[in-house]
């Protein structure tokens, strides 16, 4: 029984993550007027610096749209931008863990 439940849960959780990833990618492209399509942002490609080519102003912009949309306040704590913005996947994980909306 628990195995059935577990296998039922897995695909839907993955689907949720995919949906959120697509949503966040869309938010980023729209907020920054980027010239790539949301689907073109590879989930593990660096967002900051040489990857997607975002700079600190962009990071601030994303922080604001993310807080409005998901109620998450980004914090640096002991991490640098590199962690949360290390990739789209990491950003989505952070949002998933901390969202209040």
């Amino acid at each position: 029984m628990s195995d059935q439940v577990a296998s039922l849960r897995k695909p839907s959780a993955a689907a949720d993550a995919d949906a959120l990833t697509a949503e966040v990618a869309g938010l980023i492209v729209q907020a920054l007027n980027l010239e790539v399509a949301p689907a073109e942002i590879a989930p593990d490609r660096p967002l900051y610096g040489e990857g997607l080519g975002l700079d600190s102003i962009d990071i601030l912009e994303i922080a604001l749209v993310v807080s409005k949309q998901y109620g998450v306040q980004l914090r640096a704590d002991s991490e640098e931008n590199g962690r949360i913005f290390g990739s789209l996947r990491q950003l989505v994980e952070y949002i998933t863990a901390h969202r209040t909306k």
């Binding site: 907020a31 604001l64 749209v65």
Partner: protein, 443 residues
Amino acid sequence: MVAYRAGAPIRVSQFLNDVRHLARSFPPCTHVLNACVDRYHFTVGLAAALASGRVSLLPSSQAPQMLRQLSLFAPDAICLSDEAEISNGLRCMSYPRERFAATADPAPCLAACGVPEVDEAQLVAYVFTSGSTGTPLPHPKTFGRLIACVREQARRLDLTDSARWALLATVPPQHMYGFEASVLLPLASGHALCAERPFYPADIAAALERLPRPRALITTPVHLRALLSSGVVLPPADLVLASTAPLSQQLAAETERRFDTRLLEIYGSTETGQIAIRRPTHTAEWRLWPGVSLEVAGEATWARGGHIERPTRLQDLLEKTGADRFLLHGRVADLVNIAGKRSSLAYLNHQLNSIPGVEDGAFFHAEEPSNSHTGVARVAACVVAPALDAAQLLEALRERIDAVFLPRPLLFVERLPRNATGKLPQEPLRSLAAAHAKPATIA
């Protein structure tokens, strides 16, 4: 108290100890490129250089090309850093992280607020601006003038002697505004600087909240806009200081309301340092620093006198409204100011056209984005470079210019819309930008 880190005080005796030890640790050199990110480390580095007769270099950007050019300017310079080693052709030195044993007794030679005995004429630092020829221009800053300037700032900001203020800043200490307001001002007037440089709105609010009062926030319009629209609860401040770009009336008024305090705005430049101040909710007029005079001749305004090292042509259009007052009317068209970082279209074009494979290229001002929270307009570029793709071009640009100036959009064309005399009017460029949706397109 000379500084706070995460709300914990750092005493003057510790500071002087750290300065003494660092000064003794420098390898042979006469210049120190101070790339420290932590504001306390930066200040120790600055004071150690000063105390040992060395000149600090404060670069306007960390682009590899800039740092290489600085190494040509000062071949013996060492690069002091408190983060990962910067490979740029300079000898590197890590800021010594281990705590030096504090002396049991307070340091005997406690000069006023830890500022060492220094001659007025001593060269403290060079700050750099981007010249139109593509080489960074050095601007010397001498001790007496710097101190006079920031002591006047303390008076203008009404940082009274009776209270010790804590000054939190979101700006880097290498930038002229941050250098004056967040490093020299506290040092010269007996207030405390803050080691951290918070970035996200939630972190700025938390860092401010941790500080004892009276406390001030030294920041920029970009960060203020972000703070006010973030939804973060803002703790009360006793002063907010802004600079690097004009502030709208609405933003100023909301800032004063939400922080429950005065907002003062500074006007200045890398060459001159700060030269005027105003409270935007009360007046549009700027008041000059003592001794500073403006000479307006058509589109050119020259500033000289007071603490200004040399007569300087300003990059904005000013209108004098009195002997020591003026109004600001906007920038000269060539100037580029993105989130407080300054460059010029001429400099950027020089860099672009120096890239192998670029046959012709031009930067221009892009439209301000309407949906932006931060409200930052970028520069765009048109380029004729049949053998290059966007990634290669951007990588080459990244070597030469600060990341904020990377073009958005970047348009590849067969030919730039130059007119009969070879000039490039802005309008055809903007039309090209409007017509193109994707970066890599052949016209």
